[in-house]
């Protein structure tokens, strides 16, 4: 796609070797304004938080292995699922693709030297880390960490004696970090595109980040003010959310979901963008329906802002609200369906190499589809009434967020790994780990659909004996999943330390990041690339292969 001559003998120090400031060692990282180094800072801290939250998830599942007390008491259980939610949502899934891989690759994919506000970018990371530390530190304070669930529903979050305020403050700070990243990305996309890089020549990952960034900028402030109000309410008792002073708990839920539903799209959109990158590369052909996928990202961002109250169908809203929100909920499924159909069509008549990144993407499509279909059962009113607040919702949510976005993050790690670190991991081990992770994952979450339909409520420390078979299968699934994750990360770690040197373009990608040195130099390109074609121009593979034969 770009005409950048890059003789291999002119290798320059890459971004891992030199930094943007005069410091060496750790300060060279902590004070660096290089978007790639910041991306890696995000990657390492995000994975650390992920490991912590997986630990909480493991304990939750272990506790649910048998009815009654298995390992932890009810209070600890309630705190664990709250921490699991807060960390996974605000510190793993939301920053996972945009802040790590968006930071690293958005400027490169646009042919730019950096994001437009590099120092603001570093500030975002510091806010992220401060917020994360606040969230985790509440665990060590007297009173213990919050036991409200990550939704902080009032009035329980006003009454509990646990440390709710640090958790709220953490989410507030993390929201601010997310907003700054969004502002940076939108402005970068508008201002930093290389010559010839029109909007419709941008890779679809960039499109998805653009849509995501808008949701980050326009929806996050609502959660900021809402959580701030809960803090103010706890400190001063202004009455806004306290029903004993006239406050309305349902209004809190509206405000919470005005952000948190679109936030689901903040989480899934970049993963969809990633899928749209990976499939053409491994099928060696152009994406099917580029514009439809690009516009469906914007459509998802728009419709995603219109449907929040479908989380509140049992709250006793007006019938009008029930009608409107259910009706529009079905519309948000359409752009997602369009994407899935286009992805599968892109595999048609490709020349497919099933390497680990593609395998994770295939799992993504399967699991995200299940998540989407079960969303239909939750979108229809009468079935929603039965399924709301049961483990069916937990399964649906995890199928979209973990089976979707989580697998998207894993795919991204395997896809861009050689470019980021200049080394390669073991493909066979990675494939085996993918198989284990996929099996463990489905074993963990699928039984929850069934038990939820049979009436197993969510956030239950204890349960009726008839649900035990489902919980047992699920817990065993969690062990398999965690084993697979350990193998996966161990393999990546080993590749990073001592894997063979990776070539510039191991998968045969044609977006700009594959035209620059591996690992990239500090300002990404020796010469500003000029773009002359669309992002997935694989015609040279077609013609080269024909000539070769």
């Amino acid at each position: 796609m770009a005409n950048v001559a890059m003789p291999a003998d002119r290798a320059e120090p890459n971004y891992l070797e030199v930094t943007t400031n005069s410091h060496k060692g750790i300060l060279g990282w902590l004070l660096s304004v290089d978007h790639k180094r910041i991306g890696l800072l995000y990657l390492y801290t995000m994975l650390a938080f992920f490991a912590v939250a997986v630990g909480f998830g493991f304990m939750i599942r272990l506790e649910l292995l048998t009815p009654g007390k298995t390992v932890i008491d009810a209070q600890t259980y309630n705190q664990f699922f709250t921490l699991h939610g807060i960390i996974m949502i605000f510190l793993f899934i939301i920053p996972g693709l945009p802040a790590v891989f968006g930071n690293f690759f958005l400027p490169i994919m646009l042919g730019a030297k950096d994001v437009i506000f590099p120092r603001l970018n570093l500030l975002s990371w510091y806010l992220f880390i401060i917020g994360g530390l606040i969230a985790v530190s509440a665990w060590l304070m007297p009173g213990g960490s919050a036991d409200t669930g990550w939704m902080f529903y009032v009035p329980y979050s006003l009454r509990t004696t646990t440390n709710v305020v640090p958790a709220l403050l953490a989410a507030f700070v993390l929201g601010f970090s997310s907003i700054l990243t969004g502002i940076n990305f939108i402005t970068t996309i508008h201002r930093m595109r290389a010559p010839g890089m029109t909007f419709f020549r941008m890779p679809l990952f960039v499109w998805s980040l653009y849509a995501t960034a808008w949701v980050q900028v326009l929806a996050t402030p609502i959660i900021g003010i809402t959580l701030a109000l809960v803090m103010i309410e706890r400190a001063l008792g202004v009455g806004i959310f306290d029903p004993s002073l006239g406050g309305d708990p349902v209004l809190y839920q509206h405000l919470f979901w005005i952000y948190s539903h679109p936030a689901v799209y903040i989480m899934i959109l970049p993963a969809m963008g990633l899928v749209s990158e990976v499939i053409p590369v491994f099928a060696r052909r152009t994406i099917f329906g580029y514009k439809f996928i690009a516009f469906s990202s914007l459509a998802i961002a728009l419709f995603g802002s219109l449907v929040w109250a479908h989380h509140m169908f049992t709250a006793g809203m007006s019938d009008t609200a029930m009608f409107v929100f259910s009706f529009l909920t079905f519309f948000v499924s359409i752009p997602s369906a369009i994407k899935v159909f286009n992805w599968v069509s892109t595999l048609y008549k490709g020349s497919i190499q099933a390497d680990p990144p593609l395998l994770y993407v295939l799992s993504f499509i399967f699991q995200f589809s299940i998540g989407g279909f079960t969303g239909l059962m939750l979108g229809a009113l009468s079935t929603n009434i039965h399924l709301q607040d049961t483990s069916f919702v937990v399964a649906h949510f995890h199928y979209v967020m973990f089976g979707g976005t989580g697998f998207g993050i894993f795919a991204a790690m395997h896809y861009w790994f050689p470019k980021m670190f200049g080394r390669m991991y073991n493909l066979k081990v990675a494939t085996a780990a993918w198989a284990v992770v996929t099996v463990g994952y489905n074993l963990l979450y699928f039984p929850l659909f069934i038990s939820g339909y049979l009436g197993m409520p969510r956030r239950y420390y204890d349960y009726l004996p008839e649900f035990q078979p489902y919980h047992m299968v699920s817990t065993v699934g969690s062990w398999i999943l965690i084993f697979g994750l350990i193998v996966m990360f161990w393999n990546l770690w080993r590749g990073m330390r001592s894997g063979p040197k990776a070539p510039m373009n191991p998968w045969g990608g044609v977006t700009l990041e594959w035209t620059t040195q591996t690992p990239p130099i500090v300002e990404n390109f020796r010469e500003v690339p000029t773009v002359t074609t669309g992002p997935y121009d694989y015609s040279r593979y077609e013609s080269a292969a024909k000539e070769g034969k």
Binding site: Y153, A283, F288, T314, I334, Y348, F373, G455, E542
Partner: protein
């Protein structure tokens, strides 16, 4: 679990099955196509890709067909829900009070119980209030659920023809013993119910008159 039914059980299950069947067809289709393409067009067998940019007819089709199906799901969901919202005028009103972590029931004559006794075949309307935080009144077997708030009265209704005892659970997280906030609804024959009602009322010292809201 499926042994009993309320008036809603059948309609909810029917819609659920409808969506599950449609979803399975599409899911199997997508997955099979995906796996088939990956195997059939693997690079060793198919080294030369064909670049297909897209197909507007297909895009229109796979926008319009799902949309039509989704609209049918929405429609059945809405009609099913309308039914849940229209309690008959002669439904037996029962005040339900939720507090951490118990359910309390009060009949029109002032009789208070901790299990919900109802006559089979008679519509029952529960008026839900909370004394502290949010709860949710959930009878899985009847497909009935409604949140319970401290500052307003929500309501729900059901009618069950089948005698038996069914769980009532709290479905909105409410703190420490959320998972123990169970009670039960006991569906009895009209004659058993009348006998129970007069003896329980006598014991509680309230007149055994079941003044239903007409």
């Amino acid at each position: 679990m499926f042994t009993s039914s309320s008036s809603f059980t059948n309609s909810v299950d029917a819609l659920f099955t409808y969506i599950v069947v449609l979803s399975l067809i599409v899911l199997v289709g997508i997955t099979a196509a995906m796996v088939y393409f990956v195997v059939k067009y693997r690079r060793s067998k198919n080294p030369v890709p064909v670049n297909i940019e897209g197909n507007t007819t297909l895009e229109v089709l796979w926008t319009a067909i799902p949309l039509a199906l989704f609209m049918s799901m929405f429609y059945f969901g809405w009609t099913g829900y309308k039914e849940m919202r229209s309690a008959p005028a002669d439904a037996l009103p029962v005040n339900v009070t939720a507090r951490m972590w118990q359910w309390g029931f009060e009949y029109p004559n002032g009789l208070k119980t901790d299990t919900l006794y109802v006559p089979a075949g008679r519509a029952v309307k529960v008026l839900l209030r909370s004394q502290d935080v949010n709860h949710a009144f959930f009878i899985p077997a009847f497909r009935v659920k409604k949140d319970v708030y401290p500052n307003k009265v929500n309501d729900a209704w059901f009618v069950s023809d089948r005698v038996g005892r069914y769980d009532i659970a709290c479905a909105e997280y409410c703190g420490l013993n959320h998972s123990y906030m169970y009670s039960a609804v006991q569906v009895m024959d009209q004659s058993d119910f009348d006998a129970w009602f007069s003896s329980a009322s006598a014991k509680a010292g309230v007149p055994a008159v079941l003044a239903a809201a007409k």
